[in-house]
Amino acid sequence: MKLDEPVAENPLLTVEDLEVGFESFDGLAEVIDGVNLSIGKGEVVTIAGETGCGKSVTMKSILRLLNQPPARVNGEITFDGTELLSLSDREFERVKGQRMSLVFQDPMSSLNPTFTIGEQLTDTAQFGGDSDTGVVEFFRRRFSGERDEARERVLEMLREVQMPDPENIMDSYPTQLSGGMRQRALIAQALLNEPDLLIADEIGTALDVTIHDQILDLLKDLIENHDLSVLMITHNLGVARQVSDRVYVMYGGRIVETAPTEELFENPKHPYTQGLIASIPRLTGDEMATGIDGSIPEYLDPPPGCRFAPRCPYATAECEEARPEMYERGPQTGVECVLYDEAVPASERPTVEETRSHMTRRPGKQTGGD
């Protein structure tokens, strides 16, 4: 059985059959190959997967941040009833600026180093989403009372993201701020125009663990207070578990599994998901998997069938021939793997432990890498 309907109830954003290719001298690299995903109103959804599996490309194609060409984007992206890909740049800018916002991956490089925090954030508060503003109108509004109101709004938002000493921060340059403070400033900037949908790319990953935790807690509060729908992108399953309602696991430019967060962690189905969970570093236990053997597929010449097949311990000839269907395995739960065909007896489906036993391991009681 195929998942034809969007998984989310009351979806704000749906992505259907998204395909993104990149033209290169060696041919067309088919990076995103038929991605379906949806985010319900008020839902926090994570796309998880290892680096290079297409998470950021998916995000960038939703936000129209890819240069076309070399990129080629096909499919259907619907935001609150509006088909985004058919909009003109100008119409899209309006929808994006007013209703969507994003928090970029690296807080160190996402603030402009030559302007004060106050200058950047106040411009965003005043002109963000008004990309039609002309030069004359800009200067008229810039030097009117509206500027002070915008400044107040920025200060209020900085307080809300628990920025220490916001008055002072307004006059500081990004280099004078710590990583955590920059991340807070970026979150504040993203929320200034009261978006409905927030897209967060690897939020907090560049920070150390304790600050990372604080930022995620802050984010949870903000999601609740501002009634946000969120699309998170992360390679860190821990983040997915901490914040999100539902998780999409992405591999090689395809969604291989989706499930509500609890279900995904308690009962992972796809061998890839199982491998990811098996390789989360643990402080206890005898043995720890170091990771899934092999590496992500070559997009110029991807495996013809299941893209995970070359690394999958359970792969059969069937896997290498055709792309498996997405099998529905419960509410909001689907997995793209032949092992979950109804014809396959449940006993033949692998468990996390079984997958772990197929992976390279090293003795436990070590703190592994990432």
Binding site: L63, L65, E93, R94, K96, G97, Q98, S101, L102, F104, Q105, D106, S109, S110, L111, N112, P113, T114, F115, Q120, D123, T124, F127, G128, G129, D130, S131, D132, T133, G134, V135, F138, Y173, T175, Q176, L186, Q189, A190, L192, N193
Partner: protein
Amino acid sequence: MKYWQYLVRRLAGILVSLIGLSIIIFTTSRVLPGNPARMALGALASEEQVQALAAEMGLNEPIPIQYLDYMRGLLVGDLGTSLETKRAVSTDIVYYLPATLELITVSMFLTIVIGIPLGVIAAQNKDGFADNATRLVAFFSVSVPGFFIAIMFQLIFGYLLEWLPITGRLGSEFGSGVSRFTGFLLVDTLLSGNLAAHVDAWAHIILPALALSLAGIGQVMRITRSSMIDVKDQDYVEAERGFGLPSWLVTYKYTLKNAFIPTLTILGLLYASLLGNAFLIELVYSWPGLASYGVTAVLNNDFNAVVGVTMTIGVAFVSINFLVDVLLGRVDPRIRLAMEEAT
């Protein structure tokens, strides 16, 4: 350390390098073959007269003593007497410097207002028509020598089209109507209330200034283009665009300010090369400036004038680079802050 403290330290360093420059140029001018006293008096003067003048000019003293005497004079603005013009070198410099400064300032202005916008446009249309067209112009302007362009301009705009005058700073008909206030004709004509002369001064300066600035325009254009392209790919620019700010604001405020940092450094260096290139341009356009005065001095072994001109150019050069440092600190807070955090 505060940034101004750093700048004070820079100033002290500048002073040291100027003293070094003065020692080198003074010594060189004194040890060169040829007797300045003989040059001054001419071939017909008797040996006694030459000896007497040499003694009067202190040429018989050891060079370090001569140097100290010179420096003592320098402190009160006395640069000695020119053997050629028989006037105080300081008077000559005050007379000739404004013409050169005016030429260079207008060239600098043209370099900035033409080079930077063209660089931005080229970056916006990377590999498009505008980019390729400006690239071609840049290659041409950098590789063709300035004096050749100067002569071509004279031929085309002066001789063939007869649009613009080709020599001097001002038409002779305005000579009496403009009094000298600053030596900058563009300013003096206005202060004299003579608008026709002001327009004429522009007509005279535009060709030499353009010929002088072309190479710089090419460089500034290319530097601005490549740093704009670099900055455009930065996360913060992508983020600013992502927040739906007007794209012209992202380009001209948030991208150009960062891209301007390397351009500013280049502008400081360009200023020095303009001082050097100005000589040929002044020659071609019979522009009564410091460069042609200095070259005449060198050819005639007019040693006081040589030292005076060299020192003036040295001061101008270090002042501009000091100004660039001040501006860099203003444009790029990272430079200022790094300095303040360093100690």
